[in-house]
């Protein structure tokens, strides 16, 4: 498939410093994530067993499928996809918060999930804020969280992506979680 070739090619170029390749590949990955999310929604059964973080893996499989994935492209891809996933979620959460406030008379959704949604979408927005604050003085920790939570990467995968040891990933994550927890709690008061 030409698309596969394109993405791999673009990732490689980006990896060797091409800003142009980056500008091209991001919308592609973003679009794929959105499409897949939409597809999950359409099918109730898969929505029930839905593991959102699997999206990034699946996007990779769909977009960059090849027999011997070039490691660097893969790392890059996951890094990018995790970041985009976060963007996508925050954007959706913000929109939902807004809608909740300014909801008109038309089309009131039927599902009770809506009543829980504001709480949940707030978690996403809060987490995003906290992650930014964390990144200000320790970017690696925020990256670990992004990869693990939004990208759904395993500890080993995250270790490879960040070029650190799995043990370090574990330590970074623990401290980051404690820190984020405190930050989010204080944000609420």
């Amino acid at each position: 498939m030409t698309i596969d070739a394109d993405v791999t090619q673009l990732l490689t170029e980006w990896n060797s410093g091409s800003q142009e390749a980056k500008d091209q590949v991001i919308p592609m990955v973003y679009g794929e994530l959105r499409r897949m999310a939409a597809r999950y929604l359409r099918d109730e059964r898969s929505a029930q067993t839905f593991q959102p973080t699997m999206l990034v893996h699946e996007a990779y499989m769909r977009m960059v499928q090849q027999k011997q994935p070039e490691w660097e492209s893969r790392t890059h891809f996951f890094g990018v996809a995790s970041y985009l996933m976060r963007q996508l979620l925050v954007e959706n959460a913000r929109r939902q918060n807004c809608q909740k406030r300014g909801q008109g008379a038309a089309n009131v959704p039927l599902d009770e999930a809506m009543s829980v949604a504001p709480e949940r979408s707030r978690v996403i927005v809060d987490l995003d804020h906290a992650l930014r604050a964390l990144a200000e003085f320790d970017e690696r920790k925020s990256k670990v969280i992004e990869l693990r939570f939004f990208g759904g990467l395993t500890v080993d995968e995250a270790a490879l992506a960040l070029n650190i040891s799995p043990a370090t990933v574990g330590r970074e994550q623990r401290l980051a979680e404690a820190w984020l927890h405190r930050e989010m709690q204080s944000g609420r008061n």
Binding site: A37, Y40, L41, R42, E44, A47, F50, Q51, P52, T53, L55, L88, L89, N92, A93, Q96, A105, N107, V108, P109, L110, D111, E112, A113, M114, V116, A117, R120, S121, V123, I124, L127, F137, F149, R171, R174, L175, E177, A178, W179, L180, H181, R182, E183, Q185, S186, R188, N189
Partner: protein, 745 residues
């Protein structure tokens, strides 16, 4: 334990922050009890570092107790997945469109076996649900009966958990007839041919006494193969009741309508008849042929609409068409046909879709058409001057009745005036006027008068109708309609039963002569069978079981004749099942349990066949469930007269419980399904043989929460209350038995 959310983060230098991290990880590896002491010394007197590490440690514990990911997973799922919307057992897949009355969705029903795509119209919130539902259940029967290759079927309906009424219809994937023709640049003759199929569908519905009321291109879809289907038949009327209480529609009291295609009488709020549909059909054809809409509406106020629709003359189609070669084709006959069908006064238009279509066919065949610009200029001199609303319609028909023949039509070519009057009477008068006054308080006298007047007129017409098959048919329809009206009022006026039966008898007598000879038309036979069935039900309600039994026998005889002619469709299967059920109940009333048993069994087999044939008909599934219940009752329900066959009853109740379970699983929010399931389980428990103790306990245990839940929703339901008591009694008995046997050991 409150998390320390108080202090701002201390601004630590990078090396002190690194120290915090080291201490944090080392402390985490220690048993919790040793941490504080160890940290005190390890921090070496740096109070800030110590405080930060302690704070982080506490948060680490809290974070472990409630991991972020736990919140995040569902949050992500919720955010990415817009809520799954449901309407009863249907899952709404995506929006197909929005209309004045609500939103239409593509939906799927998936339970254990089937996955069918349907279209669901979800009625807007905040409308008077009670009235809408009431109307809905009353009309559903009629609408579900409309089976025509060019009509999208009405399948089901109900209310969502939030109380919004919805209607389930056959899903048609196609484009609007106007777009279809434009995209393919179809020539005039092909557009007319396509349109003639629409006419067939409308004509068919009119013969079944259903007026569309909202014919417009959006309701006429053509699929890829060129197959045309009409949507939303009768839906407008179904939902009209609420609109009259709403204030957001055009003007007070006006049903939702589409001004571009609405007839003048609809704008004025006058009774809507078949000729209103003819007007709207013509408005659609006008647009199909000219590309322009027939009304020039300047503004959408009530005055603007009156001016544009009721007053301004429609532009001659040949003048409206921008394409010159098309304009040439329209000039003459098509101009005349369209302008005739678009007359402001409903009485001056074609009086049936068939005649309208006939003229179009004649045009295509190069034969002379009946519509002429000047030949229908009869004025309303003999008529009451048109007034608005019911009073005028009422007065007009009363006048017509008292003077015998009120109209004379110059053109004998079109109108058989008797037929026309019969139509007008049944369509406008009985159908609409009666309906309109029914809900008015204190309208009893008026209603009686309407029925009485209608009957007098029909009687006088039918004396003269000897040889005219068409008229006999129309009269039969009108008598039946009157019979329906009379039997509707039986609750408030029980003396009406013989009168209603007499109307049915007249309808049947007329139909037996004309309809039934029409062999190829099975629906005509079904129609007659319905009259028999209605008579039977009426007799049974009046307590005359023998007469009821005779009527049911007649119904079944007729239905079986139709059945022998070919494979049974859903209509016939359902009619057979209904008749068998009625006959079985009748037999049971008369003490003939064996007869009842055979009928109930037959009803079960017909309904099973129907559910196989039409898996998406929810109503049929429920009827099947009730049929199992009847069968089980007559076989071995200890609460009623039964044949003492407990094993047989257990089989039937097990099937009933199974059917109920499926409906309950498909829609856990459906209160009726929940109740059905609970009651079925309990019935089963009652008849299980003594050897089946385990199954009995299981059934009762399952039934109790279902019944309890149902009772909570409907606390005054005495049946539920007693059944729940019965279930609890079962449990106590079983516990006592267990204790007793335990005590003996």
């Amino acid at each position: 334990m409150a998390a320390p959310g108080n202090a701002k983060r201390p601004e630590l230098s990078l090396d002190r922050w690194q120290r915090v991290e080291e201490l944090f990880h080392e402390a985490l590896d220690l048993p919790a009890a040793e941490r504080t002491g160890w940290l005190q010394s390890a921090a070496g007197g740096d109070a800030e570092v110590l405080a930060e590490v302690n704070s982080l440690l506490r948060n680490a514990d809290a974070a472990e107790a409630a991991p972020l990911v736990q919140h995040l997973g569902p949050a992500i799922a919720t955010l990415l997945a817009p809520p799954i919307r449901r309407a009863g057992p249907y899952r709404l897949v995506r929006e197909l469109g929005q209309g004045g009355m609500g939103t239409v969705y593509l939906a799927e029903r998936d339970d254990d076996e089937y996955k069918t795509q349907v279209a669901i119209k979800l009625v807007r919130r905040g409308l008077d649900t009670e009235i809408v539902l009431h109307r809905f259940y009353r009309e559903r029967q009629t609408l579900a009966r409309l089976q025509h290759p060019h009509i999208a079927r009405l399948l089901d309906g109900g209310t969502t958990e939030q109380g919004e009424p919805y209607i389930v219809m056959e899903y048609v994937a196609g484009s609007r007839i106007t777009e279809y023709c434009r995209a393919r640049s179809l020539p005039v003759s092909q557009r007319i041919l396509l349109f003639l199929n629409v006419c067939k569908a409308v004509d068919y519905a009119h013969r079944q006494f259903v007026v569309h009321r909202d014919i417009k291109p959006g309701n006429i879809l053509v699929d890829e193969t060129g197959d045309v289907k009409l949507l939303d038949f009768g839906i407008c009327k179904l939902l009209q009741a609420h609109a009259q209480s709403g204030e957001d529609t055009l003007g007070a009291g006006l049903p939702p309508l589409t001004p571009d295609y609405a007839s003048p009488e609809q704008i004025r709020g006058e009774p809507v008849t078949v000729t209103s549909d003819i007007y709207s059909l013509a408005a659609v054809l006008y647009e199909l042929l000219t590309g322009a809409k027939p009304h020039r509406i300047e503004n959408y106020t009530i005055q603007g609409l009156e001016r544009g629709i009721c007053e301004t003359e429609v532009v001659r189609p040949s003048d409206a068409a921008t394409d010159r070669s098309v304009a040439k084709q329209l000039k003459g006959d098509l101009d005349n046909i369209l302008l005739f069908a678009l007359r402001k006064d409903a009485r001056e238009r074609y009086d049936s879709v068939e005649r309208f279509a006939g003229d179009l066919r004649r045009y295509l065949a190069y034969e002379p058409v009946l519509a002429r610009p000047d030949s229908f200029a009869y004025r309303a001199g003999k008529f009451l001057r048109r007034r608005r609303g019911l009073a005028a319609a009422f007065a007009a028909v009363t006048l017509a009745t008292s003077t015998g023949v009120a109209f004379s039509v110059r053109s004998a070519r079109i109108a058989n005036e008797n037929l026309r009057m019969a139509r007008q009477l049944s369509n406008t008068f009985v159908f609409d006027v009666y309906d309109s006054v029914r809900d008015l308080p204190g309208s009893m006298r008026a209603r009686q008068l309407i029925v009485q007047t209608g009957l007098q007129y029909l009687d006088s017409l039918s004396r003269r109708a000897a040889g005219e098959a068409d008229l006999r048919r129309e009269l039969a329809v009108a008598y039946r309609r009157i019979g329906d009206v009379q039997s509707h009022s039986i609750e408030s006026n029980p003396g009406q039963a013989p009168a209603a039966l007499a109307s049915y008898r007249k309808a049947a007598a007329l139909a037996e002569g004309s309809l039934i000879r029409d062999r190829e038309d099975a629906s005509a036979g079904l129609w007659l069978a319905e009259i028999y069935q209605a008579s039977a039900a009426l007799a049974r309600r009046a307590g005359d079981h023998k007469a009821a039994r005779a009527h049911f026998a007649k119904t079944l005889e007729l239905l079986k004749t139709i059945e022998s002619a070919g494979p049974a469709g859903p209509e016939l299967l359902r009619a057979l099942a209904l008749a068998h059920t009625g006959a079985g109940e009748c037999d049971a009333d008369l003490g003939d349990l064996e007869g009842a048993h055979l009928h109930f069994r037959a009803a079960v087999s017909k309904l099973e066949a129907l559910v196989r044939l039409e898996p998406s008909l929810v109503a049929a599934r429920r009827e099947l469930l009730l049929a199992y219940s009847n069968l089980g009752n007559v076989l071995g329900n200890p609460d009623s007269n039964n044949l003492g066959d407990r094993a047989g009853a257990a089989i039937a109740y097990r099937q009933m419980a199974d059917a109920a379970r499926r409906m309950h699983v498909a829609d856990p929010a459906d209160a009726r399904a929940r109740r059905d399931y609970g009651l079925a389980l309990l019935r089963l428990a009652q008849v299980l043989p003594d050897g089946g103790a385990r199954e009995r306990i299981a059934a009762v245990r399952q039934a109790i929460p279902l019944l309890r839940e149902s009772l909570r929703a409907d606390p005054r339901n005495t049946v539920l209350r007693s059944q729940l008591a019965l279930a609890n009694g079962f449990i106590r008995e079983m516990q006592a038995a267990k204790a007793a046997s335990g005590g003996l050991k």
